[in-house]
């Protein structure tokens, strides 16, 4: 097990030193669907239903208990919730009907907002890249998303990845499902200005709605 490096590395000891027993309240106030956390009855069906279950440092029910036990730093710096594939299996099986997928996304998003998410977390990187990609014009540019993904670790790693996937990429191009010209110009809605202004306003409202107070 490797030690997790975190973006908020310098601040963790201070946070941990300040003992907090109101982490549950914090989650309820700041995490999407966080008010559901207290409803968990610790049955573990979510853990047993997760396709990537074996890779979770702490399965959802454990995260819920840790939140209630005030283990703030351990929860927010964990890479557990970043394993969620959004398959919603836990949601439909949960006997207490917790929106677990949404809560996992919410905890991950909150950790990211606070700068506590693991520094090296490929799903975190992809998530941010995807959001930037789809909001740049208002629609996804698949070609740029793919290239961005392969070259995120530098040119050499990128070329190696491209060489591995080249037959697939060429196959997709031949099948008319990948367009290299999207690197120059992709699909987009007309009112890009309106979309950008709308998202800017939404972000500002969110910043007001959920002030981070520590």
């Amino acid at each position: 097990m490797h030690a997790l490096r975190t973006t908020g590395h310098q601040t963790i000891p201070a946070v941990a030193a300040r003992y907090r027993n109101n982490f549950l309240k914090e989650v309820e106030a700041h995490v999407e669907d966080g008010e559901w956390v207290k409803m968990c009855m610790q049955c573990g069906v979510c853990a047993g239903s997760c396709p990537l279950g074996a890779h979770w440092e702490h399965p959802p029910q454990e995260l819920f208990m840790m939140i209630r036990a005030g283990k703030r730093a351990e929860v927010l710096t964990s890479d557990a919730m970043w394993m969620c594939t959004s398959c919603y299996n836990c949601v439909v099986r949960c006997p207490r009907k917790l929106p677990i997928t949404q809560i996992m996304h919410g905890i991950a998003s909150y950790a990211q907002e606070l700068g506590l998410a693991p520094e090296v977390q490929p799903t975190r990187d992809f998530s941010i890249q995807f959001w930037k990609n789809c909001t740049k014009t208002g629609r996804v540019n698949e070609m740029k998303l793919t290239v961005g993904l392969y070259f995120k670790d530098g040119l050499v790693a990128g070329i190696k990845q491209v060489m591995n996937m080249l037959p697939v990429a060429l196959g997709l191009m031949k099948a008319g499902r990948l367009n290299p010209f999207e690197l120059l110009r992709g699909h987009s809605p007309k009112d890009q200005k309106g979309i950008a202004a709308m998202l800017k306003r939404a972000r500002a409202i969110e910043a007001q709605r959920a002030p981070v107070t520590h």
């Binding site: 396709p51 990537l52 890779h55 394993m83 594939t85 959004s86 398959c87 919603y88 299996n89 949601v91 439909v92 997928t101 996304h105 919410g106 991950a108 998003s109 990211q112 907002e113 998410a117 490929p122 799903t123 975190r124 990187d125 992809f126 998530s127 941010i128 890249q129 995807f130 959001w131 930037k132 789809c134 909001t135 208002g138 629609r139 996804v140 698949e142 993904l149 591995n164 996937m165 697939v168 997709l172 099948a175 008319g176 499902r177 990948l178 999207e182 699909h187 809605p189 009112d191 309106g194 979309i195 202004a197 709308m198 998202l199 306003r201 939404a202 972000r203 409202i205 969110e206 709605r209």
Partner: protein, 300 residues
């Protein structure tokens, strides 16, 4: 048959030369036969998919979808909104549930929408194309236009996650939904109803960020289909289709398997059964060619 009209939300992957372009081609052929008129929501934008959560906050993701609903209500009033992509459908529907059930979120969404000159005042329901087929037509109606039987082809129905959970198709179970099998049978194909990976996750977006963990999932999906004697896999989800088709060669390279299983959309086998050509059914849009379907598709 009376023409049915819908406000259509194609989504990013259905666009020209995008990863599910052939899905769109086959949907167009299928709809032509069934006399379904799909009108694009003018100037629609991305739904944000599930994976955008670390980049965009809840309100930003909801407002993206609210913009689409508002445009649909404005330009195509009273028509149900229909999506063909599993993620588009799920994320739109989830956003709609939140907007319609949370007055504060709605107020904030409208504050943001104002910047784009729009105001959300409710919209028609958001439905998946499969729901339209089953609920507005029904298997019996869908069977009527069949001219080419798919008899002799064995299909493993791979439903995947997001057309199945958390909303799913009314009347179906989350653990063993049967609608894909019933659609296959309506087209005259052989549905492998005992296929046991039908609701397994392909890894979703983590196929890109966590390839090894996801390829284990994809391996299960493909291997079980072979075990059940499948000629091909049929799915309603563009990401399932792409992930399971594209990564088979990677799994072969890394794990020494010899996978070469075609993955098609329900709409493709319907387009073929309705007499469509290889081109009209989008069967020329695969890396792993569905040869058995290509062979029976109308030669044009």
């Amino acid at each position: 048959m009376a023409q049915k009209e819908y406000a259509f939300y194609p989504g990013c992957s259905s666009q020209r030369k995008a990863s599910a372009a052939n899905y769109m081609t086959s949907v167009a052929a299928m709809c032509k036969t069934l006399d379904i008129k799909l009108t694009d929501i003018p100037d629609w934008n991305c739904c944000g998919a599930s994976i955008a959560y670390a980049g965009g906050g809840e309100l930003e993701r909801v407002v993206m979808n609210a913009r689409n609903f508002t445009l649909a209500a404005k330009h195509l009033p009273d028509r149900d909104i229909v999506a063909t992509c599993a993620a588009c459908w799920l994320n739109s529907r989830e956003s709609k549930v939140k907007l319609d059930g949370n007055p504060q979120l709605l107020a904030h969404a409208n504050e943001a929408l104002k910047e784009a000159g729009l105001h959300y005042q409710g919209s028609a329901p958001v439905r998946h194309m499969v729901e339209v087929l089953i609920e507005d037509f029904g298997y019996k109606e869908l069977k009527k236009p069949v001219v080419t039987s798919l008899a002799g082809i064995k299909f493993a129905g791979y439903v995947g996650c997001q057309t199945n959970r958390p909303f799913g198709i009314a009347g179906e179970s989350f653990e063993n939904p049967m609608y894909l099998d019933k659609l296959v049978e309506a087209m005259g194909g052989e549905a492998l109803t005992a296929y046991d990976q039908k609701v397994t996750c392909c890894g979703g977006a983590l196929a890109f960020s966590e390839p090894d963990k996801s390829q284990k999932q994809i391996r299960d999906v493909v291997e079980s289909a072979y075990d059940h004697g499948a000629d091909m896999l049929v799915t309603p989800c563009p990401l399932c289709q792409a992930n399971v088709e594209v990564y088979q060669s990677e799994i072969n390279r890394k794990q020494g398997t010899n996978f070469h299983l075609p993955i098609v959309y329900y709409s493709q086998l319907m387009a073929v059964a309705y007499g469509g050509s290889v081109k009209a059914a989008g069967l020329d849009g695969h890396i792993i060619a569905p040869t058995r379907l290509q062979e029976i598709a109308t030669k044009k």
